[in-house]
Symmetry: C2
Amino acid sequence: MLEKIPVRYQLTLDKILYRAVDQFPDVEIVYKDKVRYNYGEAYKRIRRLASALEAIGLKDGARIATAEWNTHRHFEAYFAIPMMGNILHTINVSIAPMDIAYILNHAEDDAILINEDFLPFVEILKDHVKTIKKIIVLTDKEDFEPPKIEGKEVYEYESLLRDYGDESYEFPEVDENKVASLMYTSGTTGLPKGVYFSHRQIVLHSLVTPLQFVYPGVTLDYRDVALSLVPMFHVHAWGLPYTFTLLGFKQVFPGKFDFSVILRLIEKEKVTFMAGVPTLLHMLLYHPESKNYDLSGLKMVIGGAALPKGLYEEAKRRGIKVVSGYGLTETCPILTLSNLKPGMETLPEEKKDEIYMSTGFPWPLVQLRIVDSEFKDVPKDGETMGEIVVRAPWVLTEYYKDPEKTAEAFVDGWFRTGDVAVWTEDGYIKIVDRFKDVIKSGGEWISSITLESIISTHPGVSEVAVIGIPHEKWGERPMAIIVPKPDWIDKITADDIKGHLMKFVEEGKIPKWWVPDHYEFRKELPKTGTGKISKRALRDEYRGK
Amino acid sequence: MLEKIPVRYQLTLDKILYRAVDQFPDVEIVYKDKVRYNYGEAYKRIRRLASALEAIGLKDGARIATAEWNTHRHFEAYFAIPMMGNILHTINVSIAPMDIAYILNHAEDDAILINEDFLPFVEILKDHVKTIKKIIVLTDKEDFEPPKIEGKEVYEYESLLRDYGDESYEFPEVDENKVASLMYTSGTTGLPKGVYFSHRQIVLHSLVTPLQFVYPGVTLDYRDVALSLVPMFHVHAWGLPYTFTLLGFKQVFPGKFDFSVILRLIEKEKVTFMAGVPTLLHMLLYHPESKNYDLSGLKMVIGGAALPKGLYEEAKRRGIKVVSGYGLTETCPILTLSNLKPGMETLPEEKKDEIYMSTGFPWPLVQLRIVDSEFKDVPKDGETMGEIVVRAPWVLTEYYKDPEKTAEAFVDGWFRTGDVAVWTEDGYIKIVDRFKDVIKSGGEWISSITLESIISTHPGVSEVAVIGIPHEKWGERPMAIIVPKPDWIDKITADDIKGHLMKFVEEGKIPKWWVPDHYEFRKELPKTGTGKISKRALRDEYRGK
């Protein structure tokens, strides 16, 4: 008997596409009001795209960047590029142009598929990105004339497919462990970090995704129509275009984000399923035209940030079923979903809402632990904080060209998420802080987010940040830095805030020792490039004191 | 960048078990009216079982046979044995004892878990199976005294767990390509053939199983309670105990098949999901006590043989939702399921019934082709026959110690199922014959089963077999061998049968050239050991002519 069974079937992305092409060739793929075709036709264009890329020399592991909205063309690239053995590098088009240039250089990309909207960026490309020799412009215009750019070959996507594409192109057998995709995380601090995934990792993520939707909450159904709302430059749009292809669902691509268009598409295409960050849900609900649409029956998975209660409640009022997911770029991304566990259907509505808004429970194949500073599992008591560490088939292997960051990120094969959470008794996780922001005091942890959340409810507080400052006996102690509301300036005192916090202590919401010793009032807080409060700058400032 | 991403997460069976243990520890597992426990407690016993097996020397890839009914103990063995790096060899207890002895010797098993009901078999074991040194008896009796058997160590399962088991046993990391299970196919001809699967193969089968149940027909739901009806000695009970553990469903094990017990369990435990061969459905519906039970709401997947229309209709009348699946022991097993495709819900009821009774459409990751004798794909016209060949992550690698049969079974990496089928225009397959029975005439194929089915509707026909006999011009021509009903003996003629067949030709049901040239009437047909008509014996007899 063979000691080990040889792998004769590769878990590659073609298997996902072929499923839809073979079994659901007539199911529609829609791009705004511009394109309506089906999986059978998409496959032909995917073959054309691959053969055309090969014809212009992009083969054998070429790295091809995409700077594109959520379109059917991006969908085609999602399959064609990795299936032919090249690497799909999706670019976050919302970051600063010079950061994009840094990323393209760091990735050593060979070519870029770039939407016409970003053509001004080509100047930067010309001067600052040497590795990219080929530029393929994506546009809806039929008479588009590609610009001449010195030192670069420039093509237009549709004519490339027409002139160089071969509908009978046969994709090669690719090893399942070959790199399929590359992307960069845009952390709040430091340079963007490169993360890459294999075919096997993406395929396994796609196979497991539907399994978490068996439980009450947001479910998947053969009648579902998915609108691609997660930007396709974010971790394979959370893997959903792959999962929906595997299941043969109708998919709708809205192009550049315009909620006027999106609302119309939801109605016209009978969209039932979407996913995205809370901001997208906010835009959906509060867009001026939103009230003209019946959104009831829509299902939505929220991730990327905590789901505010008010937003959840407004969505519920509109008849939208919302649950939360959790994951990181480094984890391809999804790790948890907040559907109910069997038996919880009978819980009071309020309790169910609380669960739907929580971080959820782990997916199949996701081994998720919450560990203390000695890497021991914390009890499932809803209180004891620890850092989330995970193992899963789709966790990154390394940060690209960054052995130092890679070494920091793993302990005994467990990936450190940098998120601090508690386990509830029901086996759900609740994120309470970022590891770098949590305050380590007397061997215990204090959630800066919880303190900020309480302090922000004081009527005189406009903004607040809580950080840990060094303390001889306790290691760290919390300090609150507060921007008062205009008419409270010079009136509000540390005792006011302390008194406010003590009410929560008396109600048993927080322990007494969490109450900060130091309070600082100032006119403003330092912000990062993306507008978040920079706790790092605050720590640098106050820890030096 | 790494050329290939190293696999740091093994797709091993522990991942499936841990899912249920971590997330659904309180969900019940029931064995008849004897045992009711949950996944959390099952895990403790699984750890005990593994550590006890190790304690008595069964480790490092030991081959452990099981001769056991569908019980919670068998469920425990399903996980403990492969998870500890041993090989689970499930024995079909319904075959002849000397065949079992052959299998145990061929497999070189080290030990056997054997139900008390099969203890008479131990005499054969003693004399004819030398490799097995350890016998573990499984019984519900509390005061069971294991028999003394010369040359063998004999244990009783429960006391083994109690005396040697360690609840804190830690399972080792196992390579996903390591062999997890071994079993033998009991074909109608020749010796049983050994087939074995890796952890990875079983895990991928388990992950994909729920994905086919998204479509209309039989669906899976978090409220489902599964009764294990497929004998656990048949290809991991079609993988369902693993799939249901992954999903955290309640599982019910009925022990030895007794439909009086099974009906009671269905009612008491609120069973909603079962799978099995048509015979099991027949027993469920026509057991004398069946009419006392309300079976409506039950869902059932039928496989292993064609689903007779009468049986399907009676099930439907009783409110049972039935669909068909298709697979072979060699394919781990499932390849297709006959749920509807999206959009088919609006078909007329009769058409839907026809689809549910068909062989279904391929699962995700299953690459299924129907090919002609030149290995070219047949058109999807509902008519052109070909052999089903497949690739899937869970197809066998080789027949154990049988390179000749292995070589015959594969063409260019495609596994030949030996089943002849047509594609419908909707992309469903319909099996029409076994490859060895199909008649190859003038480069085209004639379905022996279709001809038999038509001839059997003639009022004078008791039994019929149609075989191909050599023909100089056409290669083969069909010949019908008929056993007339008693009062038709010596009256029925070839012209009667021909005339009967011509009516079907006129209705366009079969082409004229299918009508057999030769008819033979005789008193009986040769049968195989399991009571099926032996076409092989008939061919040997008539081809010589």
